[in-house]
């Protein structure tokens, strides 16, 4: 699998790729600071998007996600029980990337359907466990050569990603070191605490309120004030000397109170209660 990913990453514009099976990263080619542990979390969030969309078009087997951000793309291909994640820069040629993705998709499908392949997967649930419990056992050497005949080193005890090992093969490489300790949960214990940040909420600077919270406040104030929430929020943030991306956690309460003041008296309490539940 490493060989497949190395070949894929030679495509111009592709900056990294990984193959995951639920919360296990089977193989990856990533450049720092990207790391498999990030992609496990990304996969979990993308699958939540999939679950959310089921209400629109019913339950269907989702195959591909194409996510375009300001600074790059994330492409997810679901191939049977495997998840192929590809990271690209923004200046890519879409037809070229599409071809590269189709090629690796076919190769992985062929491998999974190959009679030489007696790999089995644990049917573990899709929801991602807390980061601290993820075993990040990457196969450091190429484990499945082009003939797909070599055996695979043991990943973790409960994952049966093991074909039968012929006795003539060398012993597997040692297991990699375990994950570093997880990031501490940041819980504001002050009396004005309105928000406790989960690990997935921690942005690059954990002392700032995440954008997801700001967005929810924008929607909430738009509904109550019947005006463009973004304009209202920006004005309120400017008054307290912050921006949407640099609002300190300890000022969140102040922002909510400031927003409530533009509403009629009878709506303020309801707004504050709803904002506290974000």
């Amino acid at each position: 699998m490493d060989q497949l990913l190395m070949k894929l990453c030679e495509t111009p514009g592709i900056s990294g790729a990984a193959i995951l099976h639920y919360d296990q990263c089977i193989a990856y080619q990533l450049k720092p600071p990207h790391d498999p542990i990030l992609l496990v979390e990304v996969l979990n969030l993308i699958l939540k998007v999939r679950d959310t969309l089921e209400s629109i078009d019913g339950n269907q087997d989702v195959e591909t996600f194409f996510l375009r951000f300001q600074d790059g793309y994330i492409i997810l291909n679901i191939i049977n029980e495997l998840n192929l994640i590809i990271l690209t820069s923004n200046d890519i040629k879409i037809p070229q990337i599409s071809v590269a993705v189709n090629v690796i998709q076919l190769k992985i499908k062929n491998f999974l359907n190959s009679p030489h392949n007696n790999i089995t997967f644990n049917n573990s649930p899709i929801s991602a466990p807390p980061i601290s419990s993820i075993n990040q056992n990457k196969i450091s050497n190429s484990t499945i050569d082009q003939n797909f005949n070599d055996s695979v080193p043991t990943l973790i005890p409960q994952t049966t990603l093991l074909p039968t090992r012929p006795s003539t093969l060398p012993p597997p490489p040692p297991q990699l070191k375990t994950l570093p300790p997880p990031l501490p949960r940041i819980i504001n214990n002050s009396a004005d605490n309105l928000l406790s940040l989960s690990i997935s909420d921690q942005s690059l600077n954990p002392s700032f309120v995440p954008m997801s919270v700001i967005r929810k406040l924008i929607r909430l104030i738009s509904i109550h004030a019947e005006e463009d929430g973004k304009v209202i929020i920006r004005r309120a943030l400017a008054q307290i000397g912050s921006t949407p991306t640099t609002l300190p956690v300890e000022k969140l309460n102040q922002l909510i109170k400031s927003l409530s003041l533009i509403l009629p008296q009878r709506q303020r309490e309801e707004f504050i209660n709803q904002a506290k539940n974000i």
Binding site: I46, I56, L67, R68
Partner: protein, 106 residues
């Protein structure tokens, strides 16, 4: 607004339904047999997860995305004040369709 949506539907073959939604979840326009309110509301919910992904990976805000399944493809493109949700038949190159939609919408 439905004129813009029809322009989007003409971007690629087999796109047949579209809705334009505002950031507060209200429906600004609709073409085709689609529950516009649900589509808009669900899209906004999904956007929260995508925004988290963008933060996690240092890629910034989501600007457009697509989801391809066995029966349909689902595309979302962002504008300055609204977004468009477009549904169509499955395709092997959703990225290309998404790029065309982005060009027509922005």
């Amino acid at each position: 607004m439905s004129t813009n949506l029809r322009t989007l539907l003409a971007s690629a073959p087999r796109l047949d339904r579209a809705v334009e939604g505002a950031m507060d979840g209200s429906v600004l326009g609709l073409v085709g047999a689609l529950d516009g309110e649900s589509a808009a509301a669900v899209t906004i919910l999904a956007e929260d997860y995508l925004a988290e992904i963008g933060e996690l990976m240092g890629l910034g805000e989501p600007t457009a995305w697509s989801v391809s399944g066995a029966r349909s493809c689902y595309y979302i493109v962002h504008g300055a004040r609204s977004f468009a949700v477009v549904l169509g038949a499955p395709t092997k190159s959703p990225g290309r369709v998404l790029e065309r939609l982005i060009e027509r919408w922005v």
